[in-house]
Each structure stands twice: as C-alpha cells, then as structure tokens.
Subunit: 356 residues, 2 copies
DNA sequence: GCGCGTGGCACACCTCTATTT
DNA sequence: TAAATAGAGGTGTGCCACGCG
C-alpha cells in the first residue's frame, strides 16, 4: 500500500502537502527530514505520521538541485566483460547505499576517447559528487587524470606509483608473490604467466609483479598476453607450443584459467598431473571447476567499502593520492601439484614465448 | 579538457551562462538542447559552440524537476547472486542508454517486506518513470503487484498467466521442452530436474514446464529443489542417493550444473559417460566446463532491449499485461550422451525423490 | 534580551505557456 | 509567420528574522 491518493490527477505529494496536512510550515517538515535537533518531539511525531499517511517521499532531484549535492556516486566500469569489474560494481553499489548514496552506473562500451566523453557527459549531467573508476584501461585512466574536474575520484585498480589519483585495490604484488611461492614450494621452476591485456591497469601491475618475483628467483618469466576471456585461455591451452616447456601456469583471472584447463585437456595434458594452474579472483564457481581451482582471492566487498569510504570521507582528510592496498589470499584447492617429469623437462623445444 | 573555468568559486555553468555568452535568452538555448526545429541554423551553431566552449552540461536534476520526468528507469534486482539477473541488469542498462535513459539500480538484500519497502522508497525518491523488476521471487512480485503505483512496470521473468503485469522473458516451456527432447533423442528416460528455489518466479515456471513435458511423455519427473548455487549442485552430485536411478539431470542454471558435475565426479560418476547433464542460461564459461556444457541459452541482451522497449513505448500502446516471450536456443556441447547401462538400469534402489 | 522553535524568502536550473518583435 | 523573450512553476535547502516565555 503506497498511497491513499484520492485526488484525481494527483501529482506526488510535496513537502508543502505534508506541511499543510500537519499544520506547520514546509521548513519544519524539512527539518524533520534532516534530523534537525531543535524540534519538539510532538511536532516531529505528528509530521512523521503525516508523511507515512500520505506516502510522501522527498524528491532527490529537488534536493540535489537545491543543496548542490546529488548524493550520487558515478561509477564507470571500463571493461564490463570482466567478472571482476561486475563484482566490484555490485560491491560499490552496496557500500554506497550504506552511506545513503546512490550510484549512477556507466559502462564504457565505445572504444577510445568517445567512450570516455560519453561517460563524462553522462556523469556531469547527473552532477555526481564523486567518481569511481573500476578496472580501467590505461587510456581511460589517462583521460580521467587529464580531464581536470574537481570531483573526489578513486580508481579501483592497482595503479602504479605514477598515478596522482587515489586508488583502492588488491595488492597484486602480493598476489603474484603468493602464486609464485605456492608454485615454487610445490617444486616448480618453469612457469608461464597467462596475462591480461596490455592496456589493463590491473593486468600490467600483476604482470610486472610476477616478472619481478621471477627475476628475484632467477627464473625465466615466459608470458602470453590474453584478453581475460575463457576462449583465449582455451586457445592457448589447446595450441600454444610453449606449453611443453612449462610445468605451471599462472592465469591473470579465473576465466582464462578455466579455458586453459579445457584447452590443455583436449591435448591430453592434465591439470594438475601434467601442468599446475593458479587463477586469480576466486570467481564464484572456481571451487567447482575440474579440478577445483587454486586461485588468488580478491575481496571485492571490502574493495567496494574502501572505495566508497575514500570518496565520502574526503571531507578534508589528506587522502590526496592516497593508495589503499588490500591483501589478497591464496585459496588452495586442487589445481597445483608437484611437477611431473613428463618428457625431458629441460628439453628446449622450438617455441618462442614473448620472453620479456 | 573539461572546462576553461576561470571564475574563482565557479559553480557549474547553467543554461543562463550559455545564454548570456551567446547573447540570447535561456529559452533559446533550451530549444537547441531539445532539438526544436524553429531555430535559425546560425543561432543554433553559435549556441552549440558556446556550450562546447564553456563545457556546459544540462542538469538532469533540474530537468527532472521541471519536466516531471526523470528519464530514469528503476531496476530492482531481486536475487543479485544469480548470474542471470546480473546479465539482465547490464543488458537493461545498455538498452536504456540507447533510449537516452539512465537506470537507478537497486538490489534487494534484506528479506521480506523490508527489502521491498526499501526499494520502493529509493525509487520513489528518485521519481523513476518506469520500473523493471528482474528475476523476482514470488513474494516480491506479489508486493509489487499489490502496491498500487501508477508506473509503467515490466517484470523480467516468466510469470504465469495470473500475473496482471507485463512481462518479458525467455519462454521456459520451450526451454524445458528443448532439454527434454534432447535427452529423449539421446535415449534417456529417467531424468532428474535440479530446480531453482521454490520462491523464484522463473524457477517455478521452468519446473512446471519440465514436469508437464515429462507427464506428456509418461515419464517420472523426480525433482530436487536447489538454490542456484554451485555448492548446492555439488552436494547433490556428491551425495544425493537418487542419482543411481537416473541417467540424466536437467539443471535450472549452469552454476548448479557445474557444481553437480564436480560432485558426481567425486563419486566416480562421469559426465556424460555415466550421467548426462543439461544446464540453463549459457553462462559465460559454460563452453569450457569439463565437459563443455550443453545448455539452454537465454539471450539477455534481447531481453534487456525488449524490457526497455516495453517500458518506454507504453505511451498508449495497449501493452497492459502484455507478455513477450523470447525463444531460447539449445546449445549442444559435450555433456549429453546416450545412457550408459551402468548397473541394472531398472533396479529400483532405496531412494526417495520428491516425486511430484 | 537570550534561546528555542518556526516561518519567510531567495535560490538551484530547467521546461512550458503565453507573448512580443 | 518565424524566431525569440518573459515569467511561472516544480520541490527542496540555507540563511535570517521573528515570536514567545
């Protein structure tokens, strides 16, 4: 039961209707709505009753217009196809609601400058009072950085030190180290990295960290650059020649890992018996892949909370360029085993992996 | 480059700033923004230039306030954890943008009436022009139906004939028939249905259709009621006693199918050699499950377009209570095979499945 | 005349209707 | 007549003034 509207062409009730009904001025109603302290309890109660009775809801539009604050956070998702960014969007949305804010979501679809312009126009029209950029690609990040708006902004991605904007992310250097350590503990020393696309901020961060770990361990760091999709993982698993010379693969997301395992399987290469695999994200379902996937878990809910917190607490905290990094966690399941001495383990077949 | 703001405490430019700069009245600017025909080309061009130059963006809040139309569609997602509803949300969002509308997303989290009240309050505050309810549970659907608001509303779910509200969905009776036919063509006649939860509108529709097909074919229709999660599928696969007497399972979504296959695997039951499986949705990744999952594909993008179309074309089309049903498609992959005569196929072990 | 509870008025930014040139 | 203007909402918020013990 929403309203007892009896009037014929009834517009939605306004604050004036409430005021009239309660026999007070609209300003008093406004104060009730804003929890102002200087009000007699009896007045407050009476007004609340009227609000309930006529089904009044404050107009966000009028509120935004008058207060010059929309209480909305613009959330732009740069790679909607990535599972991770959807999860992050939902998390941000939830966190925002907890802080009495709504979100204006926008997925960048068009490539290049046009897509960014669209996003900016949309968000500017909505006068969002903060901006959250999820899983950006590098050009998008640059464009946002360059566009000198004055909005509090947070990037949900593991940006490099060079980025002047605040960011919230899982610390991919820890993630990479976790995966590498787990492989090495199991006895692996030729590991392939199935990376995300080169224009993804997160992917380059993860790749960089992985390589750095490999370097420190004096191990080679063969690499193939993917596109996050399971189809790509499949192709690599099914056809990549370099697979022979490697005993483990670290995939930059679970979906590519899934496809990879399938692809390997078509060649008769078994996981983890022949090749071990670690994924990234801990996507829902990863625990039921065959084999259940050992993966690096990102806590998206926490990420969302942190992002919103950073945005809304920027009422003069010194969080200019703050970087918040959460710790990922290795979830050990069944896709890693000790390397199996297939063929001659050190035989250098005629493969060529992008080696740096 | 967003603005050449030189003023000190510069508010965002308003339509008046544009008008002053261009030497016209604000109304003329408004006409440009609304593509009104009666304008000299030269005037239009000049104004457009000014808009570009000072980085003007129309305020949606003011627009909504003044025109009494928010150009926003409220999208409430009832079961955020379901892959299908997320996919639908994204699709609706995209379609809405194409029609120059934004969406106000709201995920119901709290159970029961409270959750619905929250949603209604949020959407009422935003004065959305239309309402889209994705993947509702029955109580939610009832609540929305009962709440007599006047908004154009569309339900994205295969509601029964009893529902007075317009709805858009994949025709689950076709989906069920497709799956059943495929199983039967392969020679199966004892099939289990791993259903979605009993309070889900889509799940009951699918279950009902499935049972009706089984009845028509004079086959038993054993059923277990799940919760969409892969963990649930796993439990059933790993421990359900009724599994012995069945040669095929039709899961109400791919995720449960994934868990099921994993669970079966732990018992040494192989898919499709020992048991065949068909999923539902064609979730991204299903093509790389082991085995690649034969499933019933729902076209969420089309669903989103239809939903938005129904909502925005309701400018006096007779679509009161219209039902739009899209055809799902069977995607044949590798999880179905002819039934393998394990043990005595007709042996009635001591299982008891909810048999109706 | 001090404080608490209230009311008045301007303003935010656009759209629409009526009116002028 | 075609093009442009003036003015009135629509619905809140913020600031200041006012009445009452």
């Amino acid at each position: 039961m929403t309203s007892t509207a009896a009037e014929p062409d009834a517009l939605r009730p306004s604050i004036y209707d409430v005021a009239r009904e309660a026999g007070v001025s609209h300003m008093t109603v406004s104060r009730v709505l804003n929890d102002s302290p200087q009000l007699r309890d009896e007045t407050r109660r009476r007004i609340l009753d009227v609000i309930e009775a006529i089904g009044y809801h404050r107009s966000e539009a009028a509120r935004a217009l008058s207060s010059r604050r929309s209480r909305a956070i613009g959330v732009v998702v740069d790679s909607a196809e990535r599972d991770a960014s959807r999860a992050a969007l939902v998390a941000v949305q939830q966190a925002a609601r907890g802080r009495h804010h709504s979100v204006v979501p926008f997925s960048i679809t068009t490539n290049g400058q046009a897509g960014i312009d669209d996003a900016v126009a949309h968000l500017a029209a909505h006068r969002v009072d903060a901006l959250c950029l999820i899983a950006p690609r590098i050009p998008t990040l640059q464009a946002i950085t360059a566009s000198h708006h004055d909005l509090p902004t947070v990037i949900v991605a593991d940006t490099g030190d060079g980025c002047p904007l605040p960011s919230v992310a899982v610390d991919h250097s820890v993630g990479a180290a976790l995966a590498a350590r787990h492989f090495m503990d199991a006895g692996h020393h030729s590991m392939l990295h199935l990376a995300g696309p080169e224009d993804s901020v997160d992917a380059v961060s993860l790749t960089r960290s992985w390589r750095s770990v490999m370097r420190q361990s004096h191990l080679p760091a063969p690499l193939v650059v993917g596109d996050w999709s399971s189809d790509f993982g499949y192709e690599i698993g099914a056809t990549h020649p370099g697979m022979d010379s490697v005993t483990a693969v670290f995939a930059a997301n679970d979906r590519m890992a899934l496809g990879l395992i399938h692809g390997l399987w078509t060649r008769g290469i078994r996981v983890p018996a022949d090749v071990s695999v670690i994924g990234y994200d801990d996507h829902a379902g990863a625990s039921h892949y065959l084999p259940p996937l050992t993966t690096v878990r990102q806590d998206f809910d926490a990420l969302g909370c942190e992002a919103v917190h950073a945005l809304l607490s920027s009422g003069e905290g010194p969080l200019e360029g703050a970087r918040r990094r959460l710790l990922p966690r290795l979830v050990v399941r069944d896709s890693v085993a000790a390397p199996h001495p297939r063929r001659a383990p050190e035989r250098s077949t005629s493969h060529r992996l992008a080696a740096m």
